[in-house]
Structures are given as C-alpha cells and as structure tokens.
C-alpha cells in the first residue's frame, strides 16, 4: 500500500473541506442547482428501483417475516378466539344494522365532498445511511402528484410528498424526525402537534395547557391552510402512553400509527381536496327546491247521489 504526500494531502483536505462547506452554504441558501441534482438522481434511480422492487420484494419481506414469526403465531390464536366471540355478536347486530342504515344516509351528506386520490405502489425505502424515513412511490407529476400533498394508506396517514419526478415521488414518512403534523383528539377535540422520532412511536404535544390525553385516544389530522400539506380528518394514530411529568407546560404522549409504515406496499396521494372542507358542509348545496305537480285524478265523491264529478287533487313532491 503506497503511502505519502504529507503537506499536499493536508492542502487537498482543506480545499475539499472548503468546497463541501461551499456546497452546504449553497444548499441552505436554496440554490436550485444542488436540489436539481437530487431530482436527476431520482429520475435515474426510479426505474431501477421499480424493477428491483418486483424482483426482491419477497426477499425484503423474508427478514421481517422471520422476525415476527412468534408474535404472528400468538396473533392467529388471539384472532381465532375473537372470531368465535364476534360470530355470537352478529345476531345482536342485525337489529343495530337497521338503525345504522338510517344513520348512514345522514352521514353520506358529509361524505359527498370526496377527495381525488392517485393510488401508487411503494418501490423503494429511504437509505439507512441518511437517517431519513422516506418511501419512493411509482406515481409522479405525470399522474398529478405534486409536492406537499398528503399521502394515505388504507389505515390512515402515511406522510407527505417531499419531491416529485415525472414518474416517481419521494414521500417523507410520519416517522421521520423532521416530520410534524397538527392533530386533533377525537374525544376532546383538543389540538396538538405530532412529531416523528425516527422509530415506530411518535411524540404528541398538546397545544392547550388545560387539555388532557388518555391512553386509547384517537388522533385525526387537523388540516392545513388550503389543504396543503395536510387534509383534515385523516386517521393518524392512537395514544399508547401518556407522560404525567409536571415539568412541561402541556401534556405529552406517545402515539402509535394506524399505518404499518415499515411494510406499507400501496398508498394513495390526495391530489385535490373539495372546495369546501367536509366539516363545514352543514347544509347540502344546492338547496332542495319544491316542485308542484298537479295531477287530475278522477275521484268520485258521493256528494250527490245523482251526479259524480271528477275533482283534481294536488300533490307536492320535493325534489333536489
């Protein structure tokens, strides 16, 4: 192994360190050249990641399957007993079903303002050497995906779109230490901020000093201005532990996500939200108008025993 170059190597070291600092300064000042280089890499890597994703997904799951084998076995036993209990409840639920159908009609009013979503497949995960928690998805700007759009899975919030290429996008996960989202507790309607920690649990801090958190509380996204980056009402997670220490002004808690972020395979990107938020849609629009139908029906009235004349009847029918 050839060694040498004492002074020259030190000079080179200083030059390269200064160059690195120059790049960092440029990036922090928002110069687009450095940002563009990452998007070029993304467009280059996306097709490779897509191909590798198809080829290696069984291998990727192998390690997590082996790791979770004992817990999966217990889970199957627990689910079998739960299944038996639920079968007995089905009979009771038939009565409730009738009431639910009526309630559903009312709730449909709130659900009319649906979001437009784009479904996407996860083709890559963030590298462990960057300490960032990200996903690469196979939908990009050509599919309508834009930066700062909410990404959801079948169970709830997954993250937000960080950068977009023509046919792929990088999603910053809920678990990333830099991730923060405003949330609302379903029970008390208190609001707080949920932060990623880099692991499987997240930190919740309430904004209201008088508010309280209980284990089992469900959290929903609070929504952002113009629905960017977050749309309101998306399930985020459930409180698993509450910090009762008196050292903080507001209460804090640990939250577990509804989405299995490590094994999520398919996600949806909300590309457009309704013009009015669903929570403000108290009255349906347009308002129902009343239309009057006049139908001449021959109704013989026995007013006179000798003559029977047809009299018109008026019926009102409300239509939308």
């Amino acid at each position: 192994m050839a060694r040498g170059g004492g002074n020259r190597s030190r000079l080179l070291l200083v030059i390269l360190l200064v160059t690195s600092l120059f790049f960092i300064t440029l990036d922090l000042r928002g110069v687009s050249v450095t940002k563009g280089s990452r998007s070029v890499t993304q467009s280059f890597l996306a097709p490779i990641q897509k191909g590798v994703s198809d080829l290696f997904s069984p291998v990727g799951r192998f390690f997590s399957d082996v790791k979770n084998f004992p817990s999966e076995k217990n889970k199957v036993e627990a689910l079998a007993s739960q299944n038996a209990r639920l079968k007995s409840q089905v009979l009771v639920n038939k009565d409730i079903q009738g009431q639910l159908n009526q309630l559903k009609g009312v709730l449909d009013l709130a659900g009319r303002g649906g979001y437009r979503v784009v479904a996407a497949r996860v083709i890559g995960h963030g590298s462990s050497s960057t300490f960032s928690q990200t996903l690469t998805i196979d939908a990009g700007s050509a599919d309508g995906v834009r930066v700062d759009k909410t990404v959801i899975s079948e169970h709830g919030l997954v993250g937000v779109v960080k950068s977009v290429d023509a046919h792929s996008a990088i999603v910053l996960l809920l678990s990333d230490p830099a991730f923060k989202v405003g949330v609302r507790i379903a029970r008390s309607q208190s609001i707080g901020v949920l932060s990623g920690t880099g692991g499987n649990s997240f930190a919740l801090q309430l904004l209201d000093p008088a508010g309280n958190i209980v284990v089992g509380d469900t959290l929903f996204s609070n929504g952002s201005d113009s629905n960017t980056p977050f749309i309101p009402g998306v399930p985020v997670g459930v409180v698993t532990a509450v910090d009762h220490s008196s050292s903080t002004l507001t209460q804090t808690a640990t939250v577990k996500s509804y989405s299995d972020l490590a094994n999520v395979g398919v996600v949806s990107v909300v590309i457009s939200a309704p013009a009015t938020a669903p929570r403000t849609m108290i009255n349906p629009s347009p308002r129902p108008t009343v239309t009057v139908y006049v139908t001449p029906t021959p109704t013989p009235t026995p007013t006179d025993s000798l003559s029977a004349s047809p009299t018109p009847s008026v019926s009102k029918k409300a239509t939308k």
Partner: protein, 173 residues
C-alpha cells in the same frame, strides 16, 4: 491517483450506491439497516494513500449527497467522508498489523462506518437538523457497526482484487 482511477473508483462507488438505494434499503434487516455504500467507501479508502483517500472520500460523499431520500444539505456527506477518509489514511499506517487480519480489518471498517455516521449526526445537529432520539440514533450506528463487521470479509477481497487490477504499475511502487 490518476484521473482514470478516480473515474473507475467513482463508477464503482456509483454502482454500490445504486445497489444500496435499490436493494439493501428494501431489506428490513434486524436491529437496523446496513449501509453497504459506507462500508465499501471506508474499505476503498483504507487501500489508498493519503491523497487518494481524501479524493475518494470527497467523491464518495458527493455521490451519497445525491441520494433522493436524503434530508441533509448537499455537501454534508462530502464534508464528513473527506474528513473520515483523511483520518483513516493518517492512522491506517499505525494499525497495519491489526488490519492485516480479517477480524481486525472487519472491526476497522465497521469503526470507520460508525465514525462516519456519528460525525454526520453531529454535523447535522450543528446545522439545526432533527435527528430524532439519541437512543434510536445509537441503535442505528450500533446496527451498522454489527452488519458491516459481519459482511466486511465478503466484500473486502473483491475490492482488493479490483484495486490490484486497476492500479497502475507506477502507483504500485
């Protein structure tokens, strides 16, 4: 280090980077992930002289800075790996005896990887980045150390062969 060798090493690092981003990052290894890229760059630096090591560290850092999943400012990895490469090149002479054995070599490469990750976190904290809980970061570094030590005996011989093939007769002296 000749320009041809710089280009060859950069190509090799870029292939390692693609494998890292496309394959390794999809494998949910126990403890935490394994950074093949960092392990390879530390190993390659170990085989170079001081000037070659510093150049390789910088080029390797720039390639890692191109990672689309990275949240850090462009140039952070370049700074860290240039510094680590210099430290390794300066100290590798004094640990020649240790790294001549496979276990010692694995330990040295793993320690270099762990040092890179730790410096990256420290620099990130100085630049105001959120790095999550200290405990979690410590597990990531320890996990990388473990996997690098385990895998180093497999990829190190390949790197040595590649170096012997690509290095010129003049540089060999």
């Amino acid at each position: 280090m000749s320009p041809v060798r710089i280009a060859l090493n950069a190509s090799l690092l870029f292939i390692a980077f693609i494998i890292q981003e496309s394959v390794i990052s999809r494998m949910h290894l126990p403890i935490t992930g394994f950074s093949l890229y960092l392990a390879i760059i530390v190993s390659m630096v170990l085989l170079e002289n001081r000037i070659g090591a510093v150049i390789l560290g910088f080029v390797g850092g720039i390639i890692l800075d191109l990672s689309p999943s990275s949240q850090s400012p462009f140039g952070q990895w370049a700074l860290v790996l240039t510094l680590v490469a210099y430290l390794i090149a300066v100290n590798s002479e004094s640990v020649d005896e240790i790294i001549s054995r496979p276990v010692g070599l694995g330990l040295f490469v793993a320690a270099g990887t762990a040092l890179s990750l730790a410096l990256y976190l420290i620099l990130g904290a100085l630049l105001g980045e959120s790095n999550g809980y200290f405990g979690r970061d410590a597990i990531v570094i320890a996990g990388n150390f473990f996997w690098t030590m385990l895998f180093a005996p497999f990829f190190m011989p390949i790197l040595i062969v590649i170096r012997d093939v690509t290095v010129g007769a003049r540089e060999r002296i």
